[in-house]
């Protein structure tokens, strides 16, 4: 039927299009060019920033073509899909052929094959064909690999091969790319990426998703017990650390100190140390002690806040010095007793008894500054990530097979020569690194010629 034939040829055309290397290289070049553009136009910046660089017309054009978030634009994703289809089609097109030739190797060396091989040599030898075949076969097994013997008329063919796996390196590599893409899709569909700030002492149970309004419910709670920064002696930051607890129904089930490069993982959700900040103003802790000894009360003072000490007066903190006249951290407080004018004096953290010098029924001591931080955490769940790593591992393996192994084949043919002796032909080929194989072939050739009948 003419119709069927036409659709057949259309299918053929589509198939040829998707299996062509030209398409692969074209897509690679377009991907590379687009990627360059994406690094020149800064991605996902606030509109105000773009207005500083671009005119209204340009902004409209870039927005319409998705260039401000290019890597997630429909056409960039379409390119990636095309790339994957191309890869898959190329594999489906070529792999069966390779499997066929690997499973049914050409074990006989006929004249046609001999002409296509670069490495051949021939010599004549006295003796019975069968005996010669046996001793050459043994030598070949020793030098290269145990040969398969095929008798064809009055000729005997020996064939051995090494490194067949080399033929599959390229397909393993291509498959690995598809696996990485699958992992990425799984992660995008089934996972989430979010960001959360947790104030010290507080906990969260759901996380806002990055770039969206919705929240993900974790199904458990995460509490930040403490956040701190450690510095090098030079003052540069050495460590950003959060002490986190995981709570199930209010009960702590896991506790871990996380730092940058050492995240917390619970039920497939990962928490990464990402940023921090001050949550509200710092407070000063001041203890109120009876001069004659007795229970101390601790006051928490914010800047300028007046706190009543029953039966004594009103205390407020007005200044803080990290190193007051060489005495270390110090707090300037104001004490207002009823009916008296306010007095102002320093408390030294290093000398808690210092305030006894006022000779009052109560003396005060400075216990330290409490700064309240919040920790900023990247939160991610990515069920596809292990698929991606499997793909990556496979890619390294595939590339190494493709580049550093070689499919080497060796043929030897024994046939009767006109003068009654046996003509021996040795031929070889290698799929890669032919120079090295040439040397190997020379060595095998010398050894073969030396074989006694």
């Amino acid at each position: 039927m003419p119709d069927a034939k036409r659709s057949d040829s259309l299918m053929d055309k589509v198939w040829t299009f998707f299996t062509s290397l030209k398409l692969a290289i074209t897509i690679i070049i377009i991907l590379a060019t687009a990627s360059i553009i994406g690094t020149i136009i800064e991605q996902n910046q606030p509109m105000e920033k773009y207005r500083q660089f671009y005119g209204d017309g340009t902004i409209r054009l870039f927005e319409a073509t998705g260039l401000f978030d290019m890597y997630h634009s429909w056409w960039f994703l379409l390119l990636l899909v095309l790339f994957t289809i191309n890869l898959a089609c190329c594999t489906l097109d070529r792999l069966p052929r390779v499997v066929r030739t690997v499973r049914n190797p050409k074990t006989t060396l006929d004249d046609g094959l001999e002409k296509t091989l670069g490495l051949t040599d021939r010599w004549k030898k006295k003796g019975a064909r069968e005996t010669l075949a046996a001793s050459y076969g043994e030598a070949m097994g020793r030098e290269f690999g145990k040969p398969r013997v095929t008798e064809d008329g009055d000729a005997v063919h020996l064939y051995a091969e090494r490194g067949v796996v080399s033929r599959f390196g390229v397909y393993v590599t291509h498959l690995s790319i598809v696996i990485i893409f699958i992992g990425a899709i799984v992660g995008n569909v089934a996972g989430f990426k979010g960001y959360a700030n947790i104030v010290e002492g507080q906990s969260i149970g759901d996380v806002p998703v990055r770039g969206g309004a919705e929240k993900v419910n974790l199904g458990f709670q995460v509490r930040c017990n403490r956040f701190w920064v450690e510095n090098y002696p030079s003052g540069q930051p050495k460590e950003y650390a959060s002490d986190l607890s995981v709570l199930e129904n209010g009960v702590e089930v896991l506790r871990k100190k996380i730092v940058v490069n050492d995240p917390l993982q619970y039920k497939g959700v990962w928490f990464y140390q990402s940023s921090y900040g001050q949550a509200g103003a710092a407070t000063a802790a001041v203890t109120v002690n009876k001069a004659g000894g007795g229970a101390a009360e601790t006051l928490t003072l914010s800047a300028g806040q007046k706190v009543q000490v029953p039966g004594y007066g009103v205390v407020s903190a007005v200044d803080y010095q990290p190193n007051f006249q060489g005495f270390g951290p110090a707090l300037l407080v104001v004490l207002e007793k009823p009916g008296k004018s306010p007095v102002e004096f320093w408390l030294l953290k290093a000398h808690p008894e210092f305030d006894r010098q006022r000779n009052d029924p109560y003396f005060l001591a400075f216990a330290g500054i409490n700064e309240l931080f919040y920790t900023g955490l990247q939160v991610a769940r990515d069920p596809g990530v292990n698929v991606v790593w499997a793909g990556c591992a496979l890619m390294v393996v595939g590339i190494c097979i493709a580049f550093f192994t070689s499919h080497q084949r060796l043929w030897l043919r024994l046939s009767p020569a006109a003068d009654g002796r046996v003509e021996v032909v040795l031929a070889g080929s290698a799929s890669r690194n032919r120079l090295a194989f040439e040397k190997k072939f020379e060595r095998i050739l010398t050894d073969m010629k030396a074989v006694a009948s």
């Binding site: 990627s35 690094t39 890597y71 490069n261 140390q273």
Partner: protein, 279 residues
């Protein structure tokens, strides 16, 4: 610091070696080139020692870490790798003319390093990871291989032009035949590509462990992908389409330009997460 003195000495040695190789090429004096080889070997020893000393000195300062964490260190490490890769090629191909095209790359790199801050700084929290070692070393071995490939590609283009004109004289006359050059352009990329791949993968693994995303289309990541794509195109064009000679050489040079952009351009021109290498 002793390590910086040793790196300064390395710079000098690379410079002298480059001059020797170029002079040997123009003056057709093989003795000069042979001296160049010995200088390169001494430079390899000195620069290896310098890296070791720098490593040790960082421990003495109480901030011990591998010396590949800022622009200065990555530049000297790159030059170190180029020199070693070059010596390997020279030994393997028994030809000293490559030196005139590859060693100036190492020398220029060291000169650029010389203009950068060379003191040992402690590691910021983001860099404190064992992935750092695997990531930087694989990337730079790859870069060094690409540098050798591009240098050879330049040689190829010069030689090919001369072979077309059917002349044999001059400087170009002593270069290896185009067949050898073409093969080396390809072989160096064959070595560089797996290392670049491993470098991108270790970088992704590290990013995932530090930030929770293995790929965020950050300019550094994107440029490494561009480099990877260019060399992937090279390999496909070569293996399945038989792209040899001129076109392959031009692609190799394009790939190396992309590599330089990825390595230096991104930090110096663009901005992004990967800002450590820029200072």
């Amino acid at each position: 610091m002793l390590n910086v003195r040793l790196f300064d000495l390395t710079t000098l040695l690379f410079g002298v070696a480059s001059v020797n190789y170029v002079a040997a090429l123009y003056g057709k004096k093989d003795t000069l080139a042979r001296v160049g080889t010995w200088i390169c070997i001494v430079a390899a020893v000195v620069s290896t020692a310098a890296l070791g000393v720098r490593w040790a000195e960082s421990y003495k300062m109480g901030i011990g870490r591998i010396p590949v964490t800022n622009l200065y260190e990555s530049l000297v490490f790159f030059a170190w790798a180029v020199n070693l890769f070059y010596l390997f090629v020279e030994w393997r191909y028994k030809n000293r003319t490559f030196g005139a095209f590859v060693m100036p790359i190492a020398f220029a790199t060291m000169l650029f390093a010389f203009t950068n801050e060379s003191s040992i700084q402690p590691l910021v929290p983001a860099l404190q990871s064992y992935w750092l070692h695997a990531h930087v070393i694989t990337c730079f071995v790859g870069y060094a291989a690409f540098a050798v490939s591009a240098g050879t590609a330049v040689m190829f283009l010069m030689k090919a032009k001369q072979e077309e004109a059917k002349t044999t004289g001059g400087v170009v006359g002593v270069l290896p035949p185009t067949k050898v050059l073409d093969e080396l352009v390809y072989k160096a990329i064959m070595w560089g590509f797996p290392f670049l791949t491993a470098g991108i993968i270790t970088g992704a693994a590290w990013a995932n462990y530090a930030w929770g995303t293995y790929w965020s289309w950050d300019p550094k990541e994107t440029w490494s992908l561009i480099v990877w794509l260019v060399y992937a195109a090279f390999l496909h064009a070569r293996i399945t389409r038989g792209w040899h000679g001129r076109r392959a050489a031009i692609l190799s040079i394009a790939g190396f330009l992309a590599t330089i952009m990825c390595y230096l351009g991104v930090n110096l021109v663009l901005s992004g997460l990967h800002s450590y290498g820029g200072s």
